[in-house]
Amino acid sequence: MLAFVLTLVLLLGIVIVLAYAERKVAAFMQDRLGPTEAGPYGSLQSVLDVLKLLQKEDIVPAAADKKLFKLAPILIFAAVFAGFAVIPFAPALVPAGIGIGVFYLLAIISLDVVGLLMAGWGSNNKYAMLGAMRSVAQIVSYEIPAGLAILSAVMVCQSLDFQEISYQQGALINQFPGLEYDMNWLFGIRELGINTTTIGGILTWNIFRAPMLLVSFVLYFIASLAESNRAPFDIPEAESELVAGFHVEYSGFRFAVLFLAEYSMMVLVSLVAVVLFLGSWNTPLPNIGPVSLAYWTSGTVGELSGILWGAFWLLSKTFVLLFLQLQIRWTYPRLRVDQLMHLCWKVLTPVALGVVLLAGIWRLLMV
C-alpha cells in the first residue's frame, strides 16, 4: 500500500515537471519564451493547469455511451500505472519484485489498448473512433519490434526479473542472491580476459556488456515513441486531421486523467529503456584503481544512501531520455500511415530479429 502511494506521488511529481519541461523545450526550440507569468520562469504553470482542469465542468456528451465513456480513462491510467509495480527504483527498493517482471510489463501495457478502444467507442464521435483505431493499430504493430528488442536484452541477462537485470549492470552484481559468483567481462567477451566485475560503472551497462544491445536500445526507443503516441508517431491524435484523436470529447478531470496516463506512459517506457539498457540505478562512474568512484556513488545496499543514490541515477537517466523524446517531438514532422507501417514491418522488425540472433550468439561468448 505504501509503495502504491509513494509511486503515485513520485509519478505525479515527474509528470508535472515533464509538462512544464515540454512547454519550455518547445518554446526554446521555436525561439519563444514559453510560460513566464506563474511563478519564477513560469514554473508553476503546469500546477495551475491541473488546478484549472479540476475546476472545469465534467461534460459527458448526451449521445455518448455513458458507462464506457466514464470507465475508459480509469482503465487506461490503471493499465499504465500497473506497469510501474515492477520497476526497481533503487537496490532493495522495488514495489513488487516478481520473477517475470519484464513479461508482466509487456502484458499489462496491452490492457491500455482496450481502454483506448473503449474511449474511442464510448465518445460516439467519428474523430474519436478514428483516433482510437489508428492508435490501437499503431500500438499493436510497434509492440513487436519493442518486444524483440526487450527479448535481446533478456537473452543477454538470462532473467525476466528487473531487479536481477539491474544488479547485473554494475559493481554491486555479487550482492544479489543467486549472482554471488557471476562476473562481467569487457564487452562481455570472456576471451579478452579483462574482468570488469569490480570496475562497474558504464563499462558494465548492458549496452557495453553486449554492444549490439546499443542497436536494440535505439530500436526500443523508436518503438516506445510509437507506443506512447508521441510525435513523429502521433497520427492517432493528429491535430490537423482528427482534432485530438480518442480524447476529443473529454474535458475537466477525465481529460486530466487521460493526459496523466499519456505522460505516465512516456515515463514508463523511458524507465524500462534505462533499466534494460542503460544500467538501471547503477552509477556511470567506474572504479579506477584506488579511486573507487563506483562504490562512492552507489551507497550501501538497503540503507538510505543506497536508495538515494539509486533513485538519483535512475531518475537522471530517465530525464535525459524524456528530454530526448521532447526534442524529437519538436524536430521531426509526423509520419504518414504508410511510412509508419513501412518503418515498423520492413525496417525495425527485421533488424530486431537480427539483433535477437546476435544476442543469442553473444551470450555464448559471455560464459
Partner: protein, 170 residues
Amino acid sequence: MLFYLFATLAILSAAYMVLTRNLLYAGFSLLVTLLSVAGIYVLLYADFVAVTQLMVYVGGVLVLILFGIMLSSRVHDKSVLSESVNKVWGVVVTGFILVGLSYTILNANISALPWLQAAGTDVLGQQKSTVQRVGIKLMTDFVVPFELASLLLLIALIGAAYIATDKPKV
C-alpha cells in the same frame, strides 16, 4: 478469500457476457472474465500462465474481437445488438455438456490426487518463477507439440496474408 473474490467476478462477468444483447459490452465483460481467471492462475502459483493469458487473450484475441465488432457495426444500424437464435438446440447442447462435466468432476475424486496433497508446501522452492521449468519442459518433453503449434501458426499466417492480398486480374 481472494480466490472467492476472483471466482465471483469471473462468474458474474461471464454471465453478463452471455446475457447481454450488446456485443460490445459482452466484449468488455470478457475482459473482466479473463482478468479474474488470470488472478486465479496467480493464486495457483502459475504466474507464467497468468501473464501469458493476459498477453495472448487480452492483448491479442480480445482486441481483435473488439476491432471486428467496431468495424462491422455500421453495416446495419443496430447490428451491435445480437439476437437469440437456436434456443432449443442451445439449451440441449449446454445441458449435455453440464451433465457430462458434473459427472466427470463428481467421479474424479480430486482430493486424492498426489500433487494436490503436496500443494500446501512451497511449490516454487528456490526458484522465483515457473519460467525456467516451463522453458526446459518445452525444449525437452514437449518439443514436438511446441514445434507443431508454431508450424500451425505459420501456416495460418501465410494463409491470412494470401487471403488479404489483391488477386491480380487474369
